[in-house]
């Protein structure tokens, strides 16, 4: 909440936004190349990267306490496990 908590600069956020826009362009461009299944993988990778930018800067996760970071990490681990275990079923039917 205080001045020193996170730097009060507009420019940082504008750079992040620029990066996000460029990445959007990249992902659309790559999708146009028709890589097949690999394309989905790449698209998801870019999406993950984009969202981590949003998390870290726009949502200030970068500056949050260790507790909150741990909590977010737990969330993603749990979600990954949900998906992972669900996939012990479908591919083996």
């Amino acid at each position: 909440m205080h001045e020193n908590d996170h730097e009060l600069k507009y420019s940082t956020y504008i750079y992040v936004w620029l990066a996000l826009v460029v990445l959007t362009w990249v992902t659309v461009f790559i999708a146009g190349l028709h890589f097949g299944n690999a394309a989905v993988f790449v698209a998801l990778l870019i999406a993950a990267f984009k969202s981590s930018l949003v998390f870290a800067w726009f949502m200030h996760l970068k500056n949050e306490s260790g507790t909150i970071k741990w909590m977010v990490a737990t969330l993603f681990v749990v979600f990954a496990i949900f998906i992972g275990i669900t996939f012990t079923d479908y591919p083996f039917r």
Partner: protein, 264 residues
Amino acid sequence: MSNHAATLVAHKHPGDVEGVKIGMWLFLFTEMLLFGGLFIAYAVYRSIYSEAFHTAAANLDVTLGAVNTIFLLTSSLTVVLGIVALQKGKQKFAVLMIWLTVLFALGFMVNKYFEWSVKIHHGIYPGSPELLASHDKGEIVFYNLYYTMTGLHGLHVIIGLVVFFVVLYFIKRRPVVTEEMPFDILKHVRGGTRLAVLSEKGDELGTVAELDDKVELVDIRLTYEPVIEKMDPRNIIKLENAGLYWHLVDVIWIFLFPLFYLIS
């Protein structure tokens, strides 16, 4: 009447903000997992019908999707700029940024509206006879998921809009903090509160205990110490939390966009 007009300054424990943040993040977790269930469904069905998903995705307009992505990304930017502005005490600019956010969000919805109405016009909507008759099952699943996930996302955009209006209302109604509170309020101040008596100029007059001996009668006003240029810190917290919610809506779209538009 009163000998001194003293101001009793309550300095809130910064830990409180951390707690509010924890609460907000936990709430975001539940939102993420609400969509998470749908993402699991998406993953399962894509693994079963990967061909059909490719065919069906070709019918979605990548340009519209990309424009909407840019809209949301930009609106996310304007929110954070608004927060920074509020922290710097630039209230007018902050309000402008929030309005811009609202504008982009509305743009997103208008775009979405056209996209959906074109689809529905072509007979592609859940349960439509045309869809059921002429497409294979995988494509039907694709559209069902498409409508459910973008629909739920759209609902969140609308909720976000409402939240921003609420924040705007609060900023307008109570831009600065100089609330007078009955002395009684002291009882309710959380642990970790630092109390000091200041003169009008801001010099410390003494501790509360010493007050007893020196002063006979005081007008006591309890205010929160203004953080920056007397902006109400509660407004900043409100905007920050609204922003967190809004960024989450953005993040979900960041995933929806490639999963529906870019897999053809």
